[in-house]
């Protein structure tokens, strides 16, 4: 009688034990598949949330008077514009900094109102990571107005506004933010440099850290050390609340899965192992007879490991299908903005079919070993 026939007959005979094992593996695989299938959407959603928090690093000239900086909201000193290029061209920069935006900010008076003119250069991101640029880009010859600016000047999209003798078209009026952003006039960096008569100069590089360290891990020291090497004429200020929130946001999901994954795997392994142990106990006399009939340890071991393998395989098939179905059904409701990223993950399902049987066999290793070393005389004498 072939081993596979014996395994299949035994499964058919003790189908509830088999189904309980399959259920355990399927539940675990389903959670993993559902989680991982939606992970890209979750990651993108997290990125969006973090992006909406804004920049958290301000790189300003080293000789800036910080008292004045905090009073004015910007540095009264400047850096050469190529500082941002030097920073971006260094291979190590994007290990610590990301989304570099060169800016020039100065107070201006328009129609008797005090505003802050902010020149923005296009965002520079890591060439290897292909990140979406943050913030917005202002086309040359146009401006975007903070809420209060538009209110005070009575301007709307498409209107023209004069700045230091030059005329710019209003490309957009921004929504009210309740911050000093509301009194900003955003222009393209070259336009701002023309208006302020500061050609080739900037006074701040906005950035985001990509260290993802929490406050207790002192990320600022690492950032300052890095900048000291790359751009000694500048200093970096971290907006700690935003930085910590970003880091926590990113780490929460990782920690959650990091906690969930081993707990799930352990619970599944114990479940499969206990069921395998019960199966071995129930089949003591059968094992004894097989040994009495001259069947070796290998044949007995194969019976139990083969069964565990089938438990894992069936669990992977059902779990993969259930997990994918859950992800496709509920994922778009949970991650509404990035729902397009949720799709059947065929490579993941392939891995499940490979790993789950091996995992179930591994979980059944101890019961199988007990079956193999079970003294046939002991089991046949127990009657």
């Amino acid at each position: 009688m072939r081993t596979m026939t014996l395994i299949l007959r035994e499964i058919a005979h003790r189908r509830w034990g088999f189904l309980l094992g399959v259920g355990g593996v399927a539940a675990t695989v389903a959670v993993f598949v559902a989680f991982l299938t939606t992970s890209e959407a979750a990651r993108r959603e997290t990125v969006r949330v973090m992006r909406d928090m804004g920049f958290n690093l301000r790189i300003i000239p080293r000789d800036t008077d910080l008292d004045r900086f905090w009073v004015d909201g910007f540095s009264d000193r400047t850096l050469p514009e190529d500082a941002v290029r030097r920073l971006a061209e260094n291979d190590r920069t994007f290990m610590s900094y990301n989304h570099l935006v060169a800016t020039l900010q100065r107070r201006v008076k328009v129609q008797g109102h005090d505003f802050v003119l902010t020149g923005l250069a296009p965002t520079i991101t890591s060439p290897s990571k292909r990140k979406q640029p943050m913030g917005f880009t202002v086309e040359p010859g146009t401006v975007q107005l903070g809420y209060q600016v538009a209110e005070s000047l009575g301007l709307k999209r498409g209107d023209a506004v004069g700045l230091e003798g030059r005329t710019y078209q209003v490309a957009r009026c921004l929504v009210e933010t309740g911050t000093e952003e509301d009194i900003r006039i955003y222009a393209a960096l070259p336009d701002a440099q023309d208006i302020l008569a500061l050609p080739g100069r900037i006074n701040e590089i906005k950035a985001i850290d990509c260290l993802c360290l929490t406050a207790d891990e002192d990320p600022l020291s690492a950032l300052r050390a890095e900048l000291g090497n790359l751009l000694p004429e500048a200093r970096v200020i971290q907006m700690r609340a935003i930085a910590d929130a970003r880091a926590r946001q990113r780490q929460t999901a990782d920690r959650y899965f990091g906690f969930l994954a081993p707990v799930l795997l352990l619970a599944c392994a114990v479940w499969v192992g206990v069921l395998a142990m019960l199966n071995v106990r129930e089949r003591r006399s059968e094992i004894g007879v097989l040994r009495a009939l001259g069947k070796g340890a290998g044949r007995v071991g194969t019976l139990f490991l083969g069964r565990a393998f089938l438990v894992g395989f069936a669990g992977a098939v059902f779990g993969g299908a259930i997990g994918t179905a859950l992800a496709l059904h509920f994922g778009p409701h949970i991650f509404q903005v990035t729902a397009k990223a949720i799709a059947v993950d065929y490579p993941l399902l392939g891995w499940c079919l490979l790993v789950a049987p091996l995992f179930a066999a591994l979980a059944s290793l101890i019961p199988t070993a007990l079956a193999v070393v079970l003294d046939p005389a002991e089991s046949l004498r127990d009657d």
């Binding site: 005979h13 007879v289 009657d383």
Partner: protein, 221 residues
């Protein structure tokens, strides 16, 4: 001698200390003999049978099967010899519940049995009166039918010796006599039978009767 043992002892360690199951047992089974070892429950009969069958390594002594020291062989070789030369019959039948009668018998065959094994299993089962029960599960059989199935399994590989442990312990007298009758036929065909039992029925068929008590074979009276 087809099967013999000399000065066989077997001790078990328990929480209460060492227990001697059999001590200084020597016996020899000639080809074509029917030996009955009788004795009360717990006297060591099953331990003796398992030790003779190569399934329980003795603490002392040797077991010779067709001149080969069973426990000097490798486990794989001992399993091979056991499968080919010894048939076991147990009181509790020990049939595999999820296999039918024919499959239970074929389980004893090597590598799935093949056509020869299938033909022999079918013949044996017909001879044992189970020709119409081939596809039945053990749970659908009477106790006598189960034991005859176990007997067919023991005989499938044409063993030299059949070792039977209380083979009629769960059977009524008629079924018990029928089982012993089949064992006797095996003996008459040249096989060797050793039955351990505390019952009387085997005496009618045995040409050698031994008594066992407290792990020792008693002198013949």
């Amino acid at each position: 001698m087809i099967l013999s043992c000399s000065q066989l002892s077997r001790k078990f360690r328990t929480r209460q200390g060492s227990v001697t199951a059999i001590e200084d047992v020597s016996l020899a089974l000639a080809k074509g003999s029917f030996t009955c070892v009788r004795g009360p429950s717990g006297c060591g009969k099953t331990t003796l049978l398992l030790a003779l069958g190569g399934m329980l390594r003795p603490s002392n002594g040797r077991v010779l099967l067709e001149e080969a020291d069973l426990y000097a062989l490798s486990p794989a070789e001992r399993s091979r010899r056991r499968a080919g030369r010894i048939g076991f019959v147990f009181q509790m039948f020990h049939l595999v519940p999820y296999l039918n009668v024919l499959e239970n018998v074929l389980l004893a065959g090597a590598n799935g049995g093949g056509e020869d094994a299938l033909a022999r299993a079918t013949t044996l089962l017909r001879e044992l009166g189970l020709g119409d029960r081939l596809r039945h599960r053990p749970s659908q059989l009477s106790a006598g039918e189960r034991q005859r199935t176990a007997l067919a399994r023991a005989l499938l590989n044409r063993p030299a010796v059949v070792l039977a442990d209380e083979p009629t312990g769960n059977l009524d007298p008629d079924n018990a006599r029928e089982v012993f009758g089949h064992l006797d036929r095996f003996r008459r065909d040249g096989g060797t039978v050793l039955v351990v039992t505390h019952g009387d029925t085997a005496r009618e068929f045995a040409d050698q009767e031994l008594h066992m008590d407290k792990g020792r074979l008693l002198p013949k009276t």
